[in-house]
């Protein structure tokens, strides 16, 4: 068993543990970088900030 103190993983290895037949799957994730506008309108992340001139 490893905890976040030992392993800091991000998206690349977000899959559940890779075993042929996992006995138990258990994990918890958090937002490492808080989305600026938490809303159920712009869902799951803000619009990327590549600004264009008005």
């Amino acid at each position: 068993m490893r905890t976040s103190k030992e392993v800091k993983r991000t998206h690349k290895d977000m899959h559940a543990p890779k075993k042929e037949t996992p006995h138990i799957i258990a994990y918890r994730m958090k937002c490492a970088r808080t989305a600026n506008g938490l809303t159920h309108f712009v869902m799951y992340g803000d619009v990327p900030k590549q600004q264009m001139p008005l």
Binding site: F41, Y44, D46, M52
Partner: protein, 447 residues
């Protein structure tokens, strides 16, 4: 699904499907999926140790998320009027026909007061121009966005009937979030549900808008699922994926207005069709490398794997109404949520004579925030109570009493079991928006 499933120390055992069993602590959403083939009578000691190690922190985390998360979004209804006649609309017809429109002066006052409320906030609040049809006062909105774009993030929900190409260019330029309403992949059915009168509807305008937005990252499509369109969700996913839409909400119709009650889809039929739509969305995402996410299912996944990262605040108790968001109507009244627009007793005061802070502390807003799953007989022993949240208080108030379980309770239970199956199938990466997943890291991982 009650306390007879209790295992020990706050965890419960729940059968998910023939292959998987779930251990869940409903008070903090600590969970483990057990492969039935491998699982003996006892849980491994290191798994139980992980639970003991994490429990206190997870208890605190969920409690914080439920009770201390602060206001971060304000919905503004710049007009109460609408040019469509959707049969399930939660805004009373009289208001939609003859309602108020905000003056430029009032909108500016509203935005100034919101800005003042957030003056010490490190995060930019989100302003969403919402129901009825905000583009009836398009120039008012665009002027406000130009003036306040450094202070707020903006979003607009629209049926697209009044949208022009130059408007799309503007919204893309200011990186506004945009929600387009569309109820079916076929014109006749959509226009029946999203009618604008005389046999017409918003179908052509919405499809044209999707072409103009051309895969814009801030675009979502929002669909209200009724008994009329419940069987076309999978096809809708295919059509929208072809239109480069990356985010779709397939929301159950809210029964806030009596006229919507007869439109509610059967829970089993809805779950079956939503599951097919999600499977199609994952398949298309996997095969093409171009993502389409079903937002409400993604939110259920988040409620399990990252409860404090969820975005939609309907499926949490207390819900986000009057807590993480509120609505300012066209005449300046502050409501916990737009769903309460027909209920004057839930007004937290008028913003011209009052303030955001005053509304948040009003008895009306407190009344909504006090509604928790622990106070609902059918919910307080349900193991899924903090994943589902028993939505929606406005809808249930309209149907007699907000202290009752969700009208689509069986649908939510089915979808939560399905969400656990998806996690067991290792599909999470296809279900959440990739930009959200990139922002995440493990708090713990049992391996």
């Amino acid at each position: 699904m009650n306390r007879s499933n209790k295992r020990n120390q706050g965890t419960y055992l729940v059968d998910i499907d023939p292959a998987w069993k779930l251990v869940l602590d409903p008070e903090n959403i600590f969970w483990g999926l057990l492969n039935k083939d491998d699982q003996g009578a006892y849980l491994p000691a290191d798994f139980l140790h992980l639970y003991e190690q994490q429990k206190k922190q997870l208890d605190r985390q969920l409690a914080d998320f439920r009770f201390t998360t602060e206001l971060n979004s304000v919905y503004i209804d710049p007009t109460d009027r609408c040019n469509a006649h959707c049969p399930y609309c939660y805004i009373p017809q009289e208001i939609r026909k003859h309602g108020t429109q905000m003056s430029a002066g009032l909108l500016d006052e509203v935005l100034r007061k919101i800005k003042a409320y957030f003056k010490d906030s490190r995060k930019k609040p989100v302003i969403i121009f919402h129901a009825a049809e905000p583009f009836l006062v398009k120039e008012l909105l665009f002027d406000a966005i130009r003036k306040y774009r450094t202070s707020f993030l903006f979003g607009i929900q629209t049926n697209a009937t009044l949208l022009e190409k130059k408007d799309v260019d503007f919204m893309k330029a200011v990186r506004a979030g945009v929600g387009i309403s569309l109820d079916a992949p076929a014109k006749a059915l959509n226009n029946h549900l999203r009618s604008t009168g005389n046999g017409n509807g918003n179908y052509d305008a919405a499809m044209q808008a999707l072409d103009w937005f051309d895969g814009y990252e801030g675009l979502s499509v929002i669909t209200t699922v009724t008994r009329h369109n419940v069987t076309v969700l999978e096809e809708l996913v295919r059509v929208l994926h072809a239109k480069k839409v990356s985010s779709l909400l397939l929301n159950p119709v809210r029964l806030t207005m009596k006229s919507a009650v007869s439109l509610k889809p059967d829970d089993t039929l809805f779950a079956d069709n939503l599951i097919r739509a999600v499977e199609t969305a994952m398949d298309l995402t996997e095969k093409t490398g171009r993502q389409i996410v079903v937002g409400n299912v993604a939110n259920t996944i988040l409620a399990i794997v990252a409860p404090a990262a969820r975005r939609m605040m309907c499926d949490i108790s207390p819900c986000g109404a009057g807590r993480t968001f509120l609505t300012v109507t066209a005449n300046g009244d502050m409501l916990p949520c737009g769903e309460f627009i027909g209920f004057k007793e839930f007004s937290g005061g008028n913003i011209s004579a009052s303030s955001i802070g005053h509304a948040l502390h009003s008895d009306a807003f407190k009344r909504v925030r006090e509604r928790t799953v622990e106070m609902i007989d059918d919910c307080k022993t349900c193991v899924f109570r903090n994943i589902c949240g028993a939505p929606c208080p406005a809808e249930l108030h309209a149907r007699g009493d907000m202290y009752q379980k969700a009208r689509s309770c069986e649908f939510y239970k089915t979808m939560i079991r399905y969400a656990f199956q998806l996690i067991a199938r290792d599909k999470v990466q296809y279900l959440l928006r990739s930009d959200a997943v990139r922002r995440m890291e493990y708090e713990y991982l049992y391996a």
